[in-house]
C-alpha cells in the first residue's frame, strides 16, 4: 500500500530537482539583467514564487484544519500540520528575501506596507499554531486545537490584508490593470519556471511531512499496543 506513495514521492523529487535546475539556468543565464536595479532584481524570481506559495499554504491549511474538524480523519490533520510547517518555512524565506531586495531598491529593510505586514502577521499566526500543537498534552488534543487555530488564522489573513491596506498603502505591483507587458520575455519564462519549481517543492515537502505525520501516528499506536500487551 505504501509503494505507490513512495513512487510518487520519488517522481516528485526528480521533477522538483529538474525544474529547479531549469529555473536557475533561466534566471541566471537566460533572463536579461534588469536595466535599473541590475543583479539585485534576480531575487524577484525567488521572492515572488515563495510569497505566492506561502499564501497557497494558507488554503491547504484551511482545507486540512476544516476537514479534520468536520470528519476527524487523521489524514486531514496530516495535511494541516504539513501545511502549517512548510507554510511557515516558506513565509520565513519570504521575510528574508524581501528585505534583501528592499534595502537597495527602497532604501529601507522594512516598511509597514500591506503585503509585508500581512506576511509578518501570518508568520506569527503560523508560529503560534505550531507552538500550541507542541504544548498539547496528547497528539489528538494538539490536532484539534491546531485545527481550530488554523481555521481562525486562515480566515483572518484576508481581513488583516484589507485592514493594513487601508491603513498604509509602496509594494511594487508588477502585474495588474494598466501594467501591460512589464517583463522582458526571458524574465517571464524564468519567473514561470521558478514558480513551477517552488510549487513542486511545496508539494514534495507537504507530501513528505504528511507521510512522516502518518508514520508518527502508526508508531505511537504500535508502542501503545506493545505496552498494553505486556
Amino acid at each position: 500500500m505504501r509503494r505507490p506513495y513512495d513512487l510518487a514521492l520519488g517522481l516528485l523529487t526528480a521533477a522538483t530537482a529538474a525544474t529547479m535546475a531549469a529555473a536557475l539556468w533561466l534566471i541566471f543565464v537566460v533572463a536579461p539583467e534588469e536595466q535599473v536595479m541590475g543583479a539585485v532584481q534576480k531575487i524577484f524570481y525567488f521572492h515572488v514564487p515563495l510569497a505566492a506559495i506561502t499564501f497557497l499554504s494558507v488554503f491547504s491549511l484551511l482545507a486540512g484544519a476544516a476537514g479534520y474538524l468536520w470528519t476527524r480523519r487523521a489524514a486531514f490533520d496530516h495535511l494541516a500540520v504539513a501545511s502549517a510547517e512548510v507554510g511557515w518555512l516558506f513565509c520565513t524565506l519570504v521575510l528574508v528575501t524581501g528585505p534583501i531586495w528592499a534595502k537597495p531598491a527602497w532604501g529601507v529593510w522594512w516598511t509597514w506596507e500591506a503585503k509585508l505586514t500581512t506576511t509578518l502577521v501570518l508568520w506569527l499566526l503560523l508560529a503560534g499554531i505550531l507552538l500550541c500543537r507542541a504544548y498539547a498534552s496528547t497528539p489528538e488534543q494538539g490536532a484539534r486545537i491546531a485545527s481550530v487555530l488554523g481555521v481562525v488564522a486562515a480566515l483572518d489573513v484576508p481581513i488583516v490584508y484589507k485592514a493594513v491596506d487601508w491603513w498604509r498603502g509602496q509594494h511594487p505591483i508588477v502585474f495588474g490593470p494598466g501594467k501591460t507587458d512589464p517583463l522582458a520575455p526571458g524574465m517571464l519564462a524564468a519567473l514561470l519556471v521558478s514558480m513551477l519549481a517552488f510549487l513542486l517543492l511545496f508539494a514534495l515537502l507537504v507530501a513528505a511531512r504528511a507521510r512522516l505525520a502518518a508514520q508518527e501516528d502508526r508508531l505511537a499506536a504500535l508502542v501503545e499496543a506493545a505496552v498494553r500487551s505486556r
Binding site: L69, L124, G128, C132, R144, V151, V152, V160, K162
Partner: protein, 231 residues
C-alpha cells in the same frame, strides 16, 4: 427536566461568571491595576507631557488600546482559570447544552468586564494624559463597544484554547495579538477620529469592516468551541 435553551444557558453562565467576579473582584482589580501600571510606563516612555496638546490624537489612541489589550489578556486568562478549579470545565462540558452557549456565556461575561475596565480606564487616561474626552464620550463609546465585542469574542475563544494546554497561558498574548491586528488598527484609527472631534462618518468603512469581523469571530467561535471543550 428539559435542558435549558441556548439563550438561557448562555445567560446562566454569564451570570455565574459575573457573580463570582462581583464577590471576589479578582479580575477587575487585577486588570485595572495592571492597566494603570501600563499607562504609567507609557507616560515614562513618551516623556510624560509629550502626549498632551496637538500630539494627543497621535499618541493617546495607541496608548489606550495597547493598555486595554494587555489588561484584557489578564481577564481572558482568568476567565477559564475559574473553570479549572475542581475540574469545573469537565462539568460545564458535560452539561446538556450546546457548547456554543458556553462560549456565548463566557464571551458575554468577558465583554461586560472589558466594558467596566474601559469605563474606569478612559477617565484615568483623560486625566493622566490631559485629553478632554467628556465632549466626545458618545462617539468614543460607540468605537469602544464595536471593537470590544470582537476582542471579547476572539479573547474568549483563545482563552479557552490556552486553558486546555499545559502551561499554555503564556501563549495567549502570542496567539491573540496577531490575530486581532485588524481590530487594533481600526480601533486606534477610529479612536483618534473620535478624540480629535471629527465626525465618525468618515470612518464608516472601518466601522462596517469591524462590525462584519465581530459577526465572523462570533460565528466561527460558536462553531469551533465544541472542538476545544472535548477531552
Amino acid at each position: 427536566m428539559t435542558p435549558p435553551g441556548f439563550a438561557s444557558a448562555a445567560l446562566a453562565i454569564a451570570r455565574k461568571d459575573l457573580r463570582i467576579e462581583g464577590r471576589t473582584r479578582e479580575t477587575t482589580l487585577a486588570s485595572l491595576l495592571f492597566a494603570l501600571v501600563v499607562l504609567v510606563v507609557f507616560a515614562f516612555a513618551f516623556g510624560g507631557d509629550a502626549a498632551q496638546g496637538d500630539r494627543a490624537g497621535a499618541i493617546v489612541p495607541g496608548v489606550l488600546w495597547v493598555t486595554l489589550a494587555f489588561s484584557a489578556i489578564v481577564g481572558f486568562t482568568r476567565s477559564f482559570r475559574l473553570e479549572r478549579e475542581d475540574d469545573a470545565l469537565a462539568a460545564v462540558a458535560l452539561a446538556p447544552v450546546d457548547r456554543g452557549a458556553v462560549f456565548a456565556g463566557k464571551a458575554i461575561a468577558n465583554f461586560v468586564l472589558l466594558a467596566a475596565l474601559e469605563i474606569a480606564l478612559l477617565p484615568l487616561t483623560a486625566v493622566l494624559l490631559n485629553v478632554p474626552i467628556a465632549p466626545v464620550a458618545a462617539p468614543l463609546a460607540l468605537v469602544a463597544a464595536i471593537h470590544t465585542l470582537g476582542l471579547a469574542a476572539l479573547g474568549t475563544l483563545f482563552g479557552a484554547v490556552v486553558a486546555r494546554l499545559q502551561r499554555g497561558e503564556a501563549l495567549l498574548a502570542t496567539l491573540l495579538l496577531p490575530a486581532a491586528t485588524p481590530l487594533f488598527i481600526s480601533a486606534v484609527h477610529c479612536t483618534a477620529t473620535a478624540i480629535e472631534g471629527r465626525p465618525l462618518a468618515a470612518d464608516r468603512q472601518w466601522l462596517l469592516l469591524i462590525a462584519g469581523l465581530d459577526v465572523l469571530y462570533v460565528l466561527v467561535a460558536l462553531l469551533l468551541f465544541d472542538a476545544i471543550l472535548e477531552d
